[in-house]
Amino acid sequence: MMSGDSFSVASSIGGFGQEVQNTNPNPNPAAKKKRNLPGTPDPDAEVIALSPKTLMATNRFVCEICNKGFQRDQNLQLHRRGHNLPWKLRQRTNKEVRKKVYICPEKTCVHHDPSRALGDLTGIKKHFSRKHGEKKWKCEKCSKKYAVQSDWKAHSKTCGTREYKCDCGTLFSRKDSFITHRAFCDALADESARLTSLAAANNLNFGNDSMNETVINPQPGLPLGASQFGSGFRPELSGMAINGNSLGVDQQKPRLSLWLNQANSQLNPTDMMANSHLYESSGSTAFPEMVQAVSGNLFGSSSMPNFGNFNNQQFQGFDKSVSTSKNASLSLSALPHEMKEEGNKGNVVETLSSLYSDTQKKQSKPSMPMSATALLQKAAQMGSTTSNPSSIFGNSFGVMSSSSSNTTTSFNTLNQNRNELHQALQNSKQQAAENFTASGSVDGMLGSSNLSSLTTSTNSFDQLMMQTSGKQSDPVALKNHPGSNAIENSLTRDFLGMGGRESQRPFLAQELAKFASMSSAMGLSQFTGNH
């Protein structure tokens, strides 16, 4: 956001009509072509206000002969040549051309203010369309609407090709199934449980000014290294990836941080923890790795905090980086060796995350949070671009690491944690499935005890056959009353061949299940053994 420190807008701003108007803000000494935030124009520039009609007009230059429309006058002139009409190409003026910037005619818009004018005619046209125009273009696959055709085209190319990955590792090609899965994923439940318990256990204080204090935590081996760590990177924190400026890695980072800020304000700071680490870890600075490695250790891929919109998706790429760079970070000499132990890592993670979260809070800007879908996109892009930073990290820390063997062991232990979590998840799911399928073989109604009955029922099938054939020659009248036990008995005997049924109760589900299972058992002896 333009803090207006470099120039002030001339007072003639009010009341823009359809004419071009010049303003002359104070000159900015910067002659360099530094790329500013969008909408922070060169103060020397000439501010042009076009009308909505002008902005939306597509082919304003029309040939008088054939009515063909062109976007530029130059194109029309060239076309006129074809009609043997007099044409004239306007020459580019030799004198110094004043840079033009454009403002949005919509009064409520941020870019209506000349201090936030956009520097490009096409840009302002697209902006006006996107923000204030009607969305005429619609994606076929996902029904998303766009006002600008090029946006729509760009989206259509990628729609459906992008995959979403949940923390638990499952991939989705459809956004809706991803969302629904995410809402119910165990990863979601686990993280928040772990986070809250950890936070409680460590009783972290999240004040930024007490950053060094927060670094001190119950774990003995930790504080020293952590505080070193903390003090070491504190100066960097502000410049760090928080708002993406100093990271300078991706354009995406600033917006991610914004989003994190927004989410941060809504969430318990503890939730920020691993996220901020991981977020940092995506950058290529030294510190993030450490944090990331540690957090990766603790949280792994399945324990991303339930933080922000599918934040974890963006970290799936990071996960890899986490796991592979864990070695690197762990071997940072700044950390004492104790750090490598698993127990400590969690604490470091938290303290670091608290640092991060504070910084983020302090530096949070009031700018608009990004949409979850946009975040998803960013995350996917980031995930894909940063999914193999291991080499980078590995190299940069190769110097610091004592040996590769060190790293592998730490890597393994770190991985263990993550794998354990995975395992736990898998196992519980598998178990549930197995329980089901085990009982499924006997129609699920009888629980596990039926497995034994299968074998007996197989035998009894022979009985059944004999009894049935015997019974057939002795038809029993079927009455409709439940009291007619004879019928039931004969029926049951026919069906089940279970001679032991003295009781006169009607068929229970159990019996029905049994006879269903019998028939299945007959052919499915291999089936019962299959799970």
Binding site: T180, F184, N309, A432, N480, D494, P506, L508
Partner: protein, 434 residues
């Protein structure tokens, strides 16, 4: 786990035991491929069984049996039940499965043990029900088939449009979908514009198997809403026996809230006589929009005619089972669970006529046109906008072929959109306003 598909021809065991016994005076199926043809040879006294053409032996046998039951022809019943038992299997192909589950219902009907059977089935299902299993089941089902997601997408679209600009939303969700409809709505609320409204979700659960997991579901919803950044409140109402008993107070409806009533597959569980009262109750809540999604079958107008009801029931479930078979992989455990769930409602519809149970589990479906007649008394129809229709179409594209969307022609009775499977309408979705 592998479920090896059991078909008789694959199992020599099945046939050989018969023949080896040598006692098979009744050689009911000398042909060992029941699903292709059924020939009954030596049974002289059997009258109703004819050599069948390929396929659909189950439906023929089952209908015969139903006929026999309604005529109270006991020997025929006996014989047919026996035959069905021989051929049926819940692990076989579609015909065998249908035979198996409908056989159970027919048997209960014949022996008037439907109520007890139903209770047993329900309690067994409840015991084996857990959050994990239910979640896995429902999510898998939604992944492979638009059966549920169709209703979700249409309803969410209607809800979002009706509540555009509102800041306090209160959705009364009367369904048994374990809240799988709501994550996408939450995401839409979070991303559609800058000021996210507050959402209160009150879930009214009618089936017993769902009740036990609602607590966990609620927690997940709350967490997810936090994740999405949507201010959220969750309530579950489970102690209810009859939907008509709901009141504003019970639901916690407040004056400044924009109310939505979302009713997916729950109206059919209301006893037929009480349906009007329930609709009146909806009206009393003064909702902005009421979204109703129901399965398209008519099991209520033929209540008194067993055979007719049976045939309709068979028709519907044949579609359903075929759909399940084509949507899931053959070894799917989830499909098995869904089929078993059907067995309960089949028994309920066909064999539990005489007794009323205290809970809402009537399961007598009605067609969309029939529901519309009822709903017209209290509400007027809201059409689905083009955007929502496009969304539904886009949704269907994401699934296997065979699904289609049918819009109402003109403006007559069928006030809703239909999901069709192989050109048969199977689901009906509609939106209503007061």
């Amino acid at each position: 786990m592998d479920i090896t598909l059991f078909t008789p021809e694959e199992s020599p065991f099945f046939q050989s035991t018969q023949q080896s016994n040598g006692q098979a005076a009744i050689d009911m199926h000398s042909n060992n491929q029941p699903q292709n043809s059924h020939t009954s040879t030596s049974r002289s006294s059997d009258s109703g069984v004819l050599p069948s053409a390929s396929g659909k032996w189950a439906s023929r046998l089952l209908k015969e049996c139903a006929q026999a039951i309604s005529e109270k022809d006991s020997s025929k019943i006996h014989q047919l039940l026996w035959m069905l038992n021989e051929l049926a299997s819940p692990y076989g192909d579609c015909d065998q499965k249908l035979a198996s589950y409908f056989l159970q219902a027919l048997f209960c009907k014949a022996t008037e043990s439907g109520q007890r059977c139903y209770k047993t089935l329900t309690s067994v299902a409840e015991k084996s029900h857990s959050f994990d299993s239910a979640r896995k089941l429902i999510l898998k089902f939604q992944e492979v088939s638009p059966w549920m997601t169709f209703g979700h997408v249409a309803s969410n679209g209607a809800i979002l449009e009706a509540l555009e600009g509102e800041t306090k939303l209160h959705i009364i969700d009367i369904s048994n979908t374990l809240c799988t409809q709501w994550p996408t709505l939450l995401e839409a609320l979070a991303t559609r514009n800058d000021d996210t409204p507050h959402l209160k979700l009150t879930v009214v659960v009618t089936t017993s198997t769902v009740k036990s997991v609602m607590k966990e579901v609620g927690q997940r919803m709350e967490k997810f809403a936090r994740l999405m950044g949507v201010p959220f409140e969750f309530n579950a109402i489970m102690g209810l026996n009859h939907l008509a008993e709901l009141t504003k107070e019970v639901l916690g409806v407040q004056e400044d809230e924009a109310i939505v009533v979302n009713c997916i597959g729950a109206l059919r569980r209301v006893e037929v006589e009480e349906r009007g009262a329930v609709i009146q109750m909806f009206q009393s809540l003064r909702p902005r929009v009421v979204t109703i999604v129901e399965e398209e079958a008519d099991l209520s107008s033929s209540r008194d005619d067993f055979v007719k009801c049976f045939e309709e029931c068979l028709r519907f479930y044949t579609l359903y089972f075929e759909m399940l078979e084509e949507s899931f992989v053959p070894t799917s455990n989830e499909r098995l669970m869904l089929e078993r769930d059907c067995s309960r409602s089949i028994v309920r519809v066909l064999a539990c006529d005489d007794e009323k149970s205290s809970e809402e589990d009537c399961e007598r479906r009605e067609r969309g046109s029939q529901w519309s007649e009822r709903l017209k008394e209290a509400f007027s129809r809201v059409g689905f906008s083009d955007d929502v229709v496009d969304d539904v179409k886009a949704l269907l594209k994401r699934y296997k072929a065979g699904w289609a969307l049918v819009l109402p022609q003109g403006d007559h009775d069928d006030s809703g959109i239909y999901l069709t499977w192989k050109e048969e309408p199977v689901l009906w979705a509609s939106a209503w306003k007061p």
